[in-house]
């Protein structure tokens, strides 16, 4: 594994993430497999500081729903994508609610910055604060 690419300013919460099945109430870091039900964590979001979500394959897409569900439920801690991920997926990841990525191959921060600036507008609401074009059109 390469280094974690983080988009948060707060200090990294380094507690080891425990698998969902072993998670005890009060635990601050948990690990979700791709197929785990993120909604099971909703009662514990106040205690949690970091949620790691596994991407065992590039094709794996369930984690995007998991992250979005957690943000929709009000989670403000770190959601970290871990696994087979590339810089070109950063926009999807960040808009779905991830704010840290631990990829198998390292992400060049310069390329990442460029990638995240690539699309000036988006068409749909997601978990970030970016206004979709229909809101911009409405305002104009």
């Amino acid at each position: 594994m390469a280094e974690v690419y983080r988009l948060r300013a707060d200090p990294e919460h380094t507690a080891p993430a425990v698998p969902l099945a072993e998670y005890q109430p009060g635990g601050t870091a948990v690990w979700l497999e791709a197929g785990d039900d993120a909604r099971l964590l909703v009662p514990h979001l106040g205690a949690l500081r970091r949620i790691d979500i596994a991407f065992p394959k590039f094709r794996e897409g369930r984690g995007y729903s998991s992250a979005r569900i957690l943000r929709e439920a009000g989670f403000t801690g770190e959601i970290r994508a871990v696994g087979v991920l590339y810089v070109d997926q950063l926009m999807f990841l960040t808009r779905a609610g991830f704010d840290a990525v631990l990829p198998e191959t390292p992400i060049d921060p310069a390329v990442a910055e460029q990638t995240l600036k690539r699309f000036p507008f988006v068409y749909m609401k997601a978990t970030d604060a970016v206004q979709p074009v229909w809101e911009l059109r409405e305002r104009a």
Partner: protein, 543 residues
């Protein structure tokens, strides 16, 4: 027609810049082919048997003359002078060079076109009724709803890595020309008792290896909420669709495993959670889009009666035109199925001619049909003869719409890496054989696929042909009784398969038997088959 505003253009321009950067990184070997593959696929670029193939999106199958001329330019500049219109109302180019792709995408972007999501496990091009806004039988133009879906699904952060590809079709008519029962989601515009337009929602249809018809999960969905409802469907699918087996990953398998009622319950439960999040744009956004689709100004005094004394012309009018909403107008289908030619292919010169005709006679609009033909939607009947003469000189006046030689065919083993057998030569042979008697046969839809993935829609064919590999030899199965229309059914295999010549003979035997069985000359093959069943045909072919 929808026109991009500054936002739409900026997104498409950014995509070109992104892909230019990705191609550069690939050509410099900074990224491996393995890592590059999903990136190029998201831009519709496949690696085929002989070269790269690019699939360009034609949202809901609508282009104007300027865009058609660009498609012709691309065929000349980047391909070998041809383009291939597909069963998803898109166009494919078969001889692409990777290093030229960024310039090609920039050319497309200059006329408000792109190749977004024409491949990959994401929401694909939204398809629709090719007669939208022209057909006498529709309640409303489905394309504004399709355009809003296009925008909503473009680079969707949650639904770009689905278990499998995802296809949505929208129609505004009870006469189904968009095959909505054979899509992952099919949407039909309907009216409630108050006369308000809403959407009937079907889920879980599809062809391919496990063909299924979609199920209605909601009879009436208010328009104001339809995007959040789509979010709910897609989220249930993204979370629970199978990812362990590529052949069981489409939503139809999930709907079938859960049962439509349980699937619908899960969607409603999810919808209750996402609806309050404000994901639906205000009605003004749909109204803004709909304003782009205002119908062309039509001549209220356009004459209805026209001179049909030329028998070839009269025949073409009878076969290739449909009733238009406005008297004095008609809908013209330009067949890309001249017998012996490749179904769906058009040369760059033909595309330019069609662009000219659209501009001159058809409100500057052209539609691509899922049967791989082109449509001029708003033509004055009084202009038909002039238009037809131009088509004749361009080799585009084949009068065979929905007849035996109007065959849908996938590219098959001539191009496609997935194919097990050639399909184009089968379609060509059948078309040449059947064309002389097709007027007598009436409506007969023949569809040919070169592998079980079914891009040639063989399961929806009145007569379907499926090419398979049998011990290293091309083998063709014969299916009968399918329909992709409002009376949708799935075709069934008749019996053991045939070689290339055998399948042509078998189809001829089926047709000969039909001629002796039909109740009257007007009874379609499909209706005869439904009435008498498979047995007489089995006997004719294998007996």
């Amino acid at each position: 027609m929808y026109r991009y505003d500054e936002y739409d253009q900026a997104v498409v321009d950014a995509r070109v810049a992104e892909f230019r950067d990705q191609v550069e990184r690939r050509l410099k070997n900074e990224i491996s082919e393995e890592a590059f593959k999903p990136l190029r696929l998201m831009n519709g670029l496949y690696l085929q048997l002989h070269a790269y193939m690019l699939r360009v999106a034609i949202p809901y199958g609508t282009v104007d003359s300027r865009q058609m001329r660009m498609l012709a330019h691309i065929a000349r500049r980047y391909d070998r002078g041809y383009g291939h219109f597909t069963t998803r109302q898109n166009i494919q180019y078969n001889w692409m060079k990777l290093e030229e792709m960024p310039d090609l995408l920039a050319d497309l972007a200059s006329v408000e076109m792109h190749a977004f999501q024409t491949s990959g496990n994401c929401i694909r091009n939204i398809s629709s009724d090719q007669f939208a806004a022209a057909a006498a039988d529709e309640i409303a133009d489905p394309r504004p709803y399709a355009e809003l879906l296009r925008q909503w699904s473009t680079l969707h952060p949650e639904f770009s890595f689905l278990p499998r590809k995802f296809k949505i079709a929208v129609t505004g008519s009870t006469i189904d020309r968009a095959a909505i029962k054979l899509h992952d989601i099919g949407l039909e515009l309907v009216q409630n008792e108050a006369g308000e337009i809403g959407l009937k929602v079907l889920v879980g249809g599809g062809m391919g290896r496990t063909p299924m018809l979609g199920h209605v999960i909601r009879e009436y969905l208010p328009v104001a909420d339809y995007l959040s409802y789509m979010e709910a469907i897609l989220r249930v699918y993204n979370r629970h669709g199978r990812r362990d087996n590529i052949y069981k990953a489409r939503i139809k398998i999930l709907v079938n495993d859960l049962g439509p009622a349980e699937f619908a319950r899960q969607v409603e439960e999810e919808w209750a959670l996402v609806k309050p999040l404000g994901l639906d744009p205000p009605p003004s956004e749909l109204a803004r889009i709909a304003a782009h689709f205002a119908p062309p100004v039509l001549d209220a005094n356009a004459p209805v009666e026209i001179d049909l004394s030329n028998p070839d012309f009269a025949n073409w009018v009878a076969v290739n035109t449909h009733p238009h909403k406005a008297p004095g107008y008609t809908i013209v289908t330009i067949s890309l199925k001249a017998p012996g030619e490749i179904p769906g292919d058009a040369s760059a010169d033909q595309m330019d001619i069609i662009a000219d005709l659209a501009q001159r006679y058809a409100g500057d609009e052209i539609r691509v049909t899922h049967a791989q033909n082109l449509v001029l939607p708003h033509v004055r009947r009084a202009d038909l003869f002039d238009l037809w003469q131009v088509l004749v000189s361009a080799g585009l006046a084949t009068a065979n719409l929905d007849r035996a030689s109007d065959i849908i065919s996938c590219p098959g083993l001539d191009y496609c890496t997935l194919a097990n057998a050639r399909s184009i030569p089968i379609a060509q042979k059948l078309a040449v054989k059947l064309a002389p008697q097709e007027a007598d046969l009436g409506e007969l839809k023949i569809k040919v696929s070169g592998c079980i993935n079914g891009c040639g829609h063989h399961h929806a064919g009145h007569i379907g042909i499926l090419g398979v590999d049998r011990k290293g030899e091309e083998n063709y199965q014969l299916l009968l009784g399918g329909s992709g229309a409002e009376d949708a059914t799935l075709a069934k295999i008749l019996g053991p398969g045939f070689d290339e010549n055998g399948i042509v003979t078998a189809v001829e035997k089926v047709i000969d038997r039909y001629k002796t069985l039909r109740a009257d000359p007007a009874e379609r093959f499909l209706d005869t088959y439904r009435r008498v069943g498979a047995e007489p045909f089995k006997e004719a072919v294998y007996g």
